[in-house]
Symmetry: C2
Subunit: 470 residues, 2 copies
Amino acid sequence: MTIRCLARFAVSCAGLALAVPAATAQERLPAGVTANVPTRVAELRDAALNDTVAYDIVEGLTTEIGPRLAGTDAEARARDWAVTKLKSLGFRNVHIETYQMPVWMRGEEKAEVIAPFSQPLRITALGNSGATPDKGITAPIVYFETFGDLTRAPAASLKGKIAFVSNQMVPTQDASGYGTFGMARFVGPQIAAEKGAAAILIRSIGTDESRAPHAGNTNFRDGTTPIPAAALSVEDAANLERMVKRGKPVTLHLLLTPKQIGLQESGNVIAEVPGSDPDAGIVLIGGHLDSWDLGTGAIDDASGLGITTAAAHRIMQAGTPRRTIRVVWFGSEEVGAFGGEAYAKAHKDERHVLAAESDLGADAIWRFETNLPASAAPIGDRLQAALAPLGIARGPGKAHDGADIGPVLRQGTAAIDLNQSALRYFDWHHTAEDVLERIDPEQLRQNVAAWTAMLAIVADAPEAIGTVDS
Amino acid sequence: MTIRCLARFAVSCAGLALAVPAATAQERLPAGVTANVPTRVAELRDAALNDTVAYDIVEGLTTEIGPRLAGTDAEARARDWAVTKLKSLGFRNVHIETYQMPVWMRGEEKAEVIAPFSQPLRITALGNSGATPDKGITAPIVYFETFGDLTRAPAASLKGKIAFVSNQMVPTQDASGYGTFGMARFVGPQIAAEKGAAAILIRSIGTDESRAPHAGNTNFRDGTTPIPAAALSVEDAANLERMVKRGKPVTLHLLLTPKQIGLQESGNVIAEVPGSDPDAGIVLIGGHLDSWDLGTGAIDDASGLGITTAAAHRIMQAGTPRRTIRVVWFGSEEVGAFGGEAYAKAHKDERHVLAAESDLGADAIWRFETNLPASAAPIGDRLQAALAPLGIARGPGKAHDGADIGPVLRQGTAAIDLNQSALRYFDWHHTAEDVLERIDPEQLRQNVAAWTAMLAIVADAPEAIGTVDS
């Protein structure tokens, strides 16, 4: 056990250490941290290292629902599943809030090199991709080693050609690589379309070495006709790059037949742990219920639902908190965060005092950051003391994470980020490989312990939590 | 470098040790091994640790040809590629020997759970699988935890049902798990058909935890109508098993449209390093050129071609060996070892004195075994001395490996097995993941060094090599 925890992350060690009274945890605090960890918080946190609720939620959603693309019947079945599960756990005010959102559906997707060699390539269409004609297109590729190279291509230079952007994402603990390398997916298709490309293929935005292509949305500006846009698996992109580097022109046949099917119903599932003080405001937490269609959405984001729900459940079991904790299983995050927008609009007149979201998998939390008003600064100090034994350090930045809680944060709501390690997350993100087996139960439980400690501190904090600069 | 070799396998250490004179290698021999390693053998072996030819062959075949199912145009292109490559390396008597063999082609393949839950499953049809009707079949599954359980099912008990054999292969260094757990694929479909099953799904014969199903042949006896037969990915099988264990009947929809397209042309590619003594017999080595259709056939078996060809090339560059070394890139191994049969038939009147095959990937060789006549026993001793510094021990068994050289071995030809570690091989075997990136160049070079040492000893051995009991 000790060897294992040394080799992987701090939580196993913490788990052992936490079996002794909370005073011991105090002795482990970094120099300069003087806040006490209330015995009740320490006990809740330590008990959560044996949690089973979070894993049960991930196991259930992946087994009984599977893929749940926003706006589909599968997502609707997932909402019904969620209501049953949340009620069975004893949550109050469990209900669905529906809304309409535009739906893009994957069709056939095939790519094949036809010259100077001949072999099939594994691809998946990007969300909002345009379609090829039914017989596909045949065109030469233009190779760009990086996204920057694509942006510098002369206007109209891609006319009738397929842009190939070979842009290899690098793993980072803080997920910053997604922003940097993700540009090839987020805006690469728009740029290629502007330069006249017939289509675009990008290397998957992923850190794996596999044949599983990574899905994900792209967006075209109004006035730009969407071109066919797809991601090659990381390995297929490497293979295509090797062909390019042999120096002869490379021609591909590409078939993509996705379509926009118009507005469909999606929805958020809401559950509460009612607080004793209605004037103290709502603590909003959650993750997203929808998933991409290739995997079963274990790390993205059944785990976020499991972690936040298990933590709230533990607070509920321990008594009535001062503040109401609202858990939201947001709909349609992947395809445009429509659930977060719909939630913020529907609940704009309620007082959210703090929001936090879990949407980066199930690996251990290594850092936390806050955005708290000065009056609530002691909350951050208590959190630092309570999370240190789990191997979680305080970061220097301002909390801001969360596509779904984004609209609520922009209303001036205080925030806490509990940052999970992203070093493995983009190996499987948006691929068929996002399945139950990607969950490490031990790291998942560390997440639940951290969220439980956070909720125990925040929901019962005697300090007023006012608004912040978002 | 040292840390890396300690953590992984012995070859890096060996590589460093071998940079010193061969006498040092002698000092590292196990107690009881008294044979000397001729300086020439040691030098050839050590130089081979810097080989680039083997990797170049794997890189070329996977990039310029890709998948090459037996009897297809792709396999024919691979033969032409092989001739060009082998001639460019300076081999003599390079030519293709064609033959006819029956070809089964993959069609559509889809599986979906429709009750009590609803989600798609990833499958691939087994070679020689029957087809469903064009609209597929819908049927309840009958769950068998093991292959043994399937064999014990009462006669006719599977009538109208889909057998699901959840049979989890366990990794073994010596690949013995393939024989044990592979039974579910080799004969499971025949048994299910005999018991009236409408179809059969097996957990992939693989040791991974991925969504990539493992292809591979099955066979039906004459008089048995082939039923639809497919492998679920290991993860999809685990998911289906979780559904079964919830206790309600599970119904699937299955669509498979493969077909037998009759006799097609395949072929072996042959190349030689001519020996100085025509009476000393031929040393036959090689691997197979065809691959399954899902990956690009890097570990199965471009690596075997690369390893054996690179080793023979090194012997050729060093001078003229006593015995002719014949390198064969066999066709159509995967689908019934037709190339090996055709070769043995065409060359039955030639005197093969020893045969060895490389067809277990590219990971390090950990053991060797021999089947030599008593008169040639010193060859085994010299081999033991020469291979020990590469971390290769002598095993107690009798060499017998090789689907392609099998017919030649059965003629009483002596054999040497150079056993690669199979601990990772079945993670990727017959899947889309069998691509260039699965090759560890350092371990590949250890293979070339071992084969070079073996050929240097065997091809020049002064001893007569007579026939053996096969």
